[in-house]
């Protein structure tokens, strides 16, 4: 492997890892605070990608479509929590698995009814089109750098909100003792609604950011969901810091393995996860 290829793959890996973090952060936040295992989280990623594609073809502006899609996703999150998820708080993980599998079916079907089953692509917004020259004859796409920076920015905001604001304090309190928070007069119901909606929006925003880099196809939600599981399990379920480290590790491992051992590249992250769990059965940043 030449130095040049190594650096390109390194940036690719970090960029992929940051995107994975953005998706996984919503999953791990919802699990950590609410104890809900949301298998339909990948569907929200799909929803974001399809919405931004739809609005981009209608309005022609990526920025406008991105904002519109994010708002719709947030509303959708509130709606899903109020109508369905709220009934699951006193149930076990199995009922959650079942209900969210049902949701995957519904979203996949809606996708095929509303948008059809053809693969789509979203054009890279004009200002970010093009590449940064890397060496004499290669360049790195600007949009990928931009996407990575957006992911870092959102991660920063998320960190700030969780560790520095009143909402974040309530979220952390809800994580460690639900009854106590309730007894202190906090409306835990609306707190949960907010957290779930944020989780859905994080997944949808990842879909929006990923849309110009990847093709928008049926089933895109499921494949990303399983990868996210690997990320949050490696990091430790419920830990946002863990999701960050896990996402970067998975991003780097899968990017480098697809260059070094292409025939094994799909298997590698699962082997990696099993190895991590053998050493640390609760993940790297277990509480």
């Amino acid at each position: 492997m030449t130095t040049e290829l190594f650096f390109v793959q390194l940036i690719n890996g970090i960029q992929y890892g940051l995107l994975l973090f953005l998706i996984a952060s919503g999953l791990t936040l919802v699990f950590g605070v609410m104890g809900i295992l949301n298998l339909a989280h990948g569907s929200m990623y799909m929803v974001g990608a399809y919405l931004v594609w739809y609005f981009a073809t209608v309005t022609g502006s990526f920025t406008v479509s991105a904002v519109l899609s994010a708002i719709i996703a947030l509303t959708l999150g509130i709606l899903i929590e109020r109508v369905l998820i709220q009934r699951l708080y006193n149930r076990n993980h199995l009922d959650q698995v079942l209900l969210t599998i049902g949701m995957i079916f519904v979203f996949n079907s809606l996708q095929s009814i509303l948008f059809g089953n053809d693969p789509y692509g979203v054009a890279v917004p004009g200002a970010l089109d093009g590449g940064i020259p890397f060496t004499d004859n290669s360049s790195y796409p600007i949009y990928r750098i931009f996407a990575a920076l957006i992911c870092v920015a959102i991660a920063g905001v998320l960190y700030y909100v969780v560790s520095r604001t009143r909402l974040g304090m309530l979220i952390r309190a809800g994580e460690s003792n639900r009854e106590m928070v309730e007894a202190l007069g906090v409306n835990i119901k609306s707190l949960y609604t907010i957290v779930f909606a944020i989780g859905v929006m994080l997944a949808a925003v990842s879909g929006i950011i990923a849309a110009p880099m990847r093709s928008i196809v049926p089933g895109m939600g499921e494949s990303v969901l399983i990868t996210c599981f690997v990320v949050v399990v490696i990091g430790g379920m419920g830990s946002i810091k863990g999701a960050f480290v896990g996402a970067l590790l998975v991003g780097l491992v899968s990017t480098f393995s697809s260059v070094l051992m292409p025939s094994m590249s799909n298997m590698i992250i699962y082997i990696f996860m099993i190895l991590v769990l053998l050493v640390k059965p609760q993940g790297l940043f277990a509480k």
């Binding site: 079916f105 079907s109 399983i226 399990v233 769990l277």
Partner: protein, 318 residues
């Protein structure tokens, strides 16, 4: 009596009586016989999962690994253009699957709760991609099974696997044995201890039982029967491909067992038939059957908290 509840004493004999006689009035290669055979085989798979999830408390999202192994092991072990003996190969496949379950079980059972769900998922995904990417086993397309095994025992042959009706009875017979086997195991001393490990692991351990060994034994039993179901399914359709061990397969089986009534064992049959029946109905009603299927699942989680078996028990007990 191995059937403890009144509901199962009514439902189980009724089901097997109907299942025993209905095909006699149908043409052997009718669509109905083939479809019901598939559902019977799936019921075995779902039942083995129900045992693990509902009775042992091992929530696995990677059970399809063994379903796929049942098919792939047959392809790997048997010569391509020669009919092998069904019983001998059943023994081989179950034996090797049990060994694989013993090894993987020893690894996955180190974790508990949500991590157990995830690591079982990871192992089955790993094998999914192994078969998906491998050129030896046809990759995504899978492998065809050209020769169905012959079924003679000591030179006597009364079962012809090429005849759909015979295959139907093989599946029904296997399902019945699986049901009785699980019921006997659960009624035994061993089964009582397993029950205890689920209800209160700490106390059971304090009583001097090795929880790990009991769970591992159950994991091997459940996985082996899952592999047997996969083997039958591969034989019925004459092929095996990676979708056998996709996570959707594990997920659907989990939906079926919860739908039927988790931990009831006989509920696996109810769940599988209801799920497949609903899917068949919606598929013929509309192209977008998935929408109705998904909505039906969501409604059932909210309304039927203990599955169909739980609902029936509420009606029939007392």
């Amino acid at each position: 009596m191995i059937f403890e509840k009144r509901t199962e004493r009514i439902l189980v004999p009724m089901f097997f009586m109907v299942a025993l006689f209905v095909p006699l009035f149908l043409e052997s290669n009718s669509f109905f016989v083939g479809k019901v055979t598939t559902i019977l085989i799936l019921s075995i798979f779902v039942m083995s999962l129900d045992f693990l999830v509902g009775r042992v408390g091992l929530i696995t999202l990677g059970h399809a690994l063994f379903y796929g192994l049942g098919g792939y092991l047959f392809v790997i072990l048997s010569p391509e253009y020669e009919a092998v003996n069904f019983w001998v190969y059943t023994f081989y496949i179950c034996g090797i699957s049990a060994l694989i379950a013993l090894v993987t079980g020893a690894v996955v059972l180190r974790t508990t709760g949500i991590y157990f769900i995830m690591i079982t998922l990871a192992i089955s995904q790993m094998m999914f991609y192994y078969f998906f990417d491998s050129l030896d086993f046809g990759g995504n397309d899978g492998v065809f099974i050209f020769m169905k095994p012959e079924t003679s025992i000591f030179g006597l042959s009364f079962l012809n696997l090429d005849d759909p009706q015979h295959f139907y009875y093989l599946a029904l017979f296997s399902l019945f044995n699986t049901l009785v086997f699980f019921k006997v195991v659960l009624r035994s001393r061993f089964g009582r201890i397993v029950e205890a490990t689920k209800q209160n692991p700490d106390r059971t351990e304090a009583l001097g039982y090795n929880i790990f060994a009991f769970r591992l034994t159950c994991y091997v039993i459940g996985s082996t029967l899952g592999a047997y179901a996969g083997f039958l399914f591969a034989l019925q359709y004459g092929f095996v491909n990676p979708s056998f061990l996709a996570w959707e397969m594990s997920g659907t089986a989990l939906v079926m067992s919860i739908l039927g009534g988790l931990g009831t064992i006989y509920g696996a049959i109810l769940g599988t038939f209801t799920y497949e029946g609903l899917q068949y109905f919606f598929e013929h009603l509309t192209e977008e059957w998935l929408l109705f299927m998904g909505s039906a699942i969501i409604l059932m989680v909210i309304l039927l908290r203990k599955g169909i078996a739980g609902y029936l028990e509420k009606l029939l007990e007392k």
